[in-house]
C-alpha cells in the first residue's frame, strides 16, 4: 500500500492537482454471532482502498475507490481533481505539511489476532452467552452474542513530503441479555474491548449483560422532578463524546457549538478535567498519527473546569491561527478527514460508586440512555434523552426505573458535575472514552 499511496499522489498531480494526499487502509476482519449455543454467522473479509484529496490552488476535492490497478488509480485521480474543480475557493484550504516526529507507540497490534482460530474466537462469543444465561435463572436468553476483530494497516503520503504507515488491531465482544419479569422483558448490555482476543474477558461480558438486565425487572416510571442524577460510565461516555464534538474547532469556527468563544472561561465545575489523548497506551483510538499524517498528541481540553483548548486539524488550524492538534479523524479510506476526538479521558477522582450515591442522597442512577442522535441539539447543547436505571434513595440504589427522560444542556450539566468517580473504564460510545461515573447536581427527570 505504501507504493499505492505514492502512485495515487503522483496520479493526482498528473491530473492537474497542485497538491495531493492519499490515505489507504488494508484490513482483515472477522465477526462471529452466536445465539442459543449455536454459531449464527461467521464472517471473514478483506478490505482495501484509497481516499485521495486533491487541491487545485485553494480548492479541494475528494475521491475514494477500491480499484488499485493503474487504470483504477488514474480514474480515482481524475475524479478527485474534478471534485476540486466543483468546489468553491477557500483561502484556508491546503495540504497537511510535515511537522515534527510522530510518536513511537508500541503494542498497537496484538499477535493473538493472527493466532486465534475462527473456532477459538467463536468460543469467546459462546462463552459470553453461556455466562449470561448462567448468571441468573431469570435470564431467558440473549438477543445475540458477538465477537469481532480487525487488523489494519494504514498508509499515507502527501505531495508535501508526509509518508508513513502503521499497523493496529482491535477486537470486541458484546451481548444484549434478555431477562423475563412478570410485566415483560428487560434488556442489559455487556461489552469489553481489547487489542486482541487473548486479553478479552468474555465471562465478564456475559455477567455484566445479565446483571444489568435482571436489575431492570419490575421497573416503573420515576416521578417527574428536578433531582441529583448519577451517570454510570457507559452513559457518562455518551455525554463526554458530545462535549468532545462541541470542542472541535470546525464547529467552534462555524459558530455551531455551545463552547464557541469561551476559551479560557470556566465552563464546568472544578471537579472536571478532560483530555483528548491520541497516544495513551491502552486507548482504543491511539495511533502514531491522525488522518492527515500529523502526530497524535495529548491535548488538555478542560482543566479543573476551565476551557483550555479546542481540537484542530490542518484546515481549522490555518483558519484559527493555531497548530493542528493531530485531530483529523477518518472513517477509513471512504471518508474525508474531519476534526474529531481520539481518546477522551476524564480524570478520575476519589469516590467509589457507593460514595457517589451516598452524596447524591435521593435521585436517579442512569445506566442507559436512548435517542442521543435526535434528542441533543449540538448547536445549543440543549438535550432531552430517554433513560433507564435505578432510583437512589437515602444514598443507596433502590428500585429500577425506566421510560423517563433526563433533560438539561451540556454547559449546565458540566457546571453541575459534583465530582468524578474513582473507577474509570473504556467505553466505545461517543467515540472512545475513558470515564468514571459522574454525579450531576441536578437535572430534570420526566417520568410519571
Amino acid at each position: 500500500m505504501t507504493e499505492s499511496v505514492q502512485r495515487a499522489v503522483e496520479a493526482a498531480l498528473a491530473a492537474g492537482a497542485s497538491d495531493a494526499e492519499a490515505f489507504a487502509t488494508e484490513a482483515g476482519e472477522r465477526e462471529v454471532r452466536v445465539h442459543g449455543g449455536e454459531v449464527e454467522s461467521l464472517t471473514a473479509a478483506t478490505q482495501r482502498g484509497i481516499g485521495l484529496r486533491a487541491w487545485i490552488g485553494n480548492r479541494v476535492g475528494f475521491a475514494f475507490g477500491t480499484d488499485l490497478g493503474e487504470a483504477g488509480i488514474a480514474a480515482l485521480a481524475g475524479r478527485a481533481a474534478e471534485a476540486a474543480r466543483a468546489g468553491d475557493e477557500d483561502e484556508h484550504a491546503g495540504p497537511p505539511t510535515p511537522a515534527g516526529e510522530v510518536p513511537e507507540l508500541g503494542g498497537l497490534r496484538d499477535a493473538s489476532i493472527d493466532t486465534w482460530s475462527a473456532a477459538q474466537v467463536a468460543e469467546i462469543a459462546l462463552t459470553v452467552e453461556r455466562e449470561a444465561l448462567a448468571f441468573d435463572g431469570r435470564v431467558a436468553g440473549v438477543e445475540q452474542a458477538v465477537y469481532a476483530d480487525a487488523a489494519e494497516r494504514v498508509s499515507i503520503a502527501t505531495s508535501t513530503g508526509i509518508a508513513g504507515g502503521y499497523e493496529s488491531s482491535s477486537c470486541y465482544a458484546y451481548t444484549q441479555a434478555l431477562a423475563k419479569g412478570e410485566d415483560g422483558t428487560e434488556t442489559g448490555l455487556g461489552f469489553d474491548l481489547a487489542r486482541g482476543p487473548a486479553t478479552l474477558d468474555p465471562a465478564a461480558v456475559g455477567r455484566e449483560a445479565a446483571e444489568r438486565a435482571v436489575a431492570m425487572i419490575g421497573a416503573g416510571k420515576p416521578e417527574s422532578r428536578v433531582c441529583p442524577v448519577v451517570l454510570d460510565p457507559t452513559v457518562a461516555a455518551s455525554f463526554v463524546g458530545l462535549i468532545g464534538g462541541g470542542l472541535g474547532a470546525d464547529s467552534i469556527q462555524r459558530g455551531r457549538s455551545p463552547f464557541a468563544g469561551r476559551l479560557g472561561e470556566q465552563v464546568g465545575s472544578g471537579a472536571l478535567s478532560l483530555d483528548d489523548d491520541g497516544t495513551v497506551a491502552d486507548g482504543p483510538a491511539s495511533a502514531p498519527f491522525d488522518g492527515e499524517g500529523v502526530a497524535r498528541a495529548r491535548t488538555p481540553l478542560i482543566a479543573a473546569g476551565t476551557l483550555s483548548s479546542y481540537l484542530y486539524d490542518t484546515y481549522t488550524a490555518r483558519r484559527g491561527g493555531a497548530r493542528s492538534t493531530g485531530s483529523a479523524g477518518r472513517e477509513g479510506y471512504r471518508g474525508l478527514p474531519r476534526v474529531s476526538t481520539s481518546n477522551l479521558v476524564i480524570a478520575p477522582g476519589d469516590l467509589g460508586l457507593d460514595g457517589l450515591l451516598a452524596e447524591a442522597g435521593d435521585g436517579v442512577f442512569v445506566t442507559d440512555v436512548a435517542g442521543l442522535h435526535s434528542g441533543v441539539n449540538p448547536v445549543t447543547g440543549v438535550f432531552s434523552v430517554g433513560a433507564s436505571g435505578r432510583a437512589i434513595r437515602a444514598g443507596e440504589l433502590a428500585e429500577p426505573v425506566r421510560e423517563f427522560t433526563i433533560a438539561s444542556d451540556l454547559v449546565s450539566m458540566l457546571g453541575a458535575v459534583r465530582a468524578a468517580g474513582a473507577d474509570s473504564r473504556w467505553v466505545p460510545f461517543g467515540g472512545s472514552v475513558s470515564t468514571p461515573p459522574l454525579p450531576i447536581g441536578e437535572m430534570t427527570v420526566a417520568g410519571a
Binding site: H35, V39, E40, S41, L42, T43, A44, A45, T46, Q47, V60, G61, A63, F64, G65, T66, D67, A75, L76, R79, A83, A86, G87, D88, A118, A119, E143, Q144, Q176, L178, G184, T185, E186, T187, S224, R225, V226, R254, G255, R334, L336, A370, G371, H373, S374, G375, V376, N377, V379, T380, S384, G386, E403, F404, T405, I406, A407, S408, T444, G447
Partner: protein, 462 residues
Amino acid sequence: MSDPLIDAAVAERVIARALESGGDFAEVYAERRQGLGMSIDESRVESVQSGAEEGAGVRVVEAGTTYFAHVDGLDPADLERAAAEAASALRGERSEPRALEAVATEPQPIERPPSEVPAERKADLLRELDGRARGEGGEVAQVLASYAEAHREIAVANSEGLFTGDDRTRTRIGVQAVARRGDTVETGAETLGAARGFELLEDDPGAIAAEAAAKALALLDAKPAPAGSMPVVVGGGFGGVLFHEMTGHGLEADHIQKGASVYVGKLGEQVARPLLSAYDDGRMPGEWGSDAIDDEGTPTQKTLVLEEGRLASYLYDRLRAERDGVASTGNGRRESFRHLPIPRMTNTYIAPGEATPEAIIAEVERGFYAASFGGGQVDPATGDFVFGVSEGYLIEAGRVTQPCRGATLIGNCLDALAAIDAVGDDFEMKTGICGKGGQRAPVGTGQGHVRVSAMTVGGTEV
C-alpha cells in the same frame, strides 16, 4: 438486466465453489456503487466527494449457520476467493446447486441519471438552497445544505437457480438552517429524497430550504418544553417514524424469532384501535425506500402489517421466512456487499384516516403537538422508545400555541400503539436513514396527523 455485473457462468462456478464442502444454500451478491456528495456551508460549496467501489459477498448456509465472506473487486478470482473463504469452515460433502435461470426485473425508472448532470449544476443547486433559506429573514444566521446521489447496480445468484439484479439510483438534498436572536440559537432541518434521478430536483427544490429556515425562525420564540404525561398530536410525513419505531422494528422477524420483540405471539391480535391500518411497501414508485427486488433477489411487495388494528404480518428475509415456513416478504436488505441481509423495513406508513388535522388538534384541551421529529429509537425487546422532537408546540384549548424547544417523547410500544385514537386524512411520505445492527438503509416513513391519547413529554418544565 441489461449488463450483468457478473456472467452466469462465473456465478455458477462461484456458487459451486462455495458448496464444495457442503451447505444447504449458497449465494453470491455482487455490487458496483458510485456516489457523489457535496455541501454548502458559510455560502461556500465544499466537501465535494466522489466514491466508486465494487465487490462481492458470498454466503453459505448450513444447518442454521451462515458463513459469509466479502471482497473488494469483481474479478472472477476475487469472487472465487470469497467463495473459498466462506466455505473454509465447512467439512461436509459437496452439494449440487441448480442451474441458474435469469429473472428480469424492472428497476425504478430514472429520467435524468444524476451522473450525467454536470457537477457545476449541483453546486448551483446548493447555492440556490443557501439563498432561499437566507431569504427567509435576517435572523437566519447559517445555512448548511447537502446534496447526495448514489447509483448501485447489484446482481444476486443463488444455489436455487435464481439469477437476478437491480439498478438503483437515489438522490437526496437536505438543509439545516440556524437562526439567531441575541443569545438564542435554534435550528430547523428539512430533506427531500427519492429513488429517482435529478428530475426530483427540477420542481422547486428550494422549498425545503425555506421550510427549514421557517422552522428555525419559529423556534426563536420557543419556551422550554413541558415535562409529564399528556395527549400528543404527531404531524404528518416524518411523523411516520413514530410507527417505524413503535411497531415496524418489532415486526422484523429476526427480533421475533429470538423472543426479542414485544410483538412475539401477537399475530392476529388486536393491538390497536380499528382506525389504524399500516403497510410496509417496497414498491411505491420512486419512494426513498423502494427497490425492484430486495438484496436477496426477492421482489419487493406491499405488505399489510396492521389491518384495522389487528397485527397482520411480520417482515421477513429469506432465512427467517424459511425458519417460519412462510414466504419472504421481500424485506431482506443489506447496506452493501460487505453486509449480510437482515429483515428491514422499506417504506412504512400508517394509511390515511378520516379526521382532518384541525379536528384532531381541536379535541385536545391541553397537550403537545410534535410537528416533526429529528429521529427516534426503540428497543424492540422491551418496547421502550424515544423520539427527539425537532419542531414542537403546546396545544391549549384546542389550538396550537407556544413553540417549545428541547422536547423528547418517550413511551412503550404496545401502550402507545393502543393509545392512538385519531388518524388524519392528510398524508405525506418522508425520507429517513435507518440504522440497525451496524447497517444503514434508506427507508420511507409516512402518515397523516396522528393523535396519541397519553404519552410522556420529556422537557424541562416540571
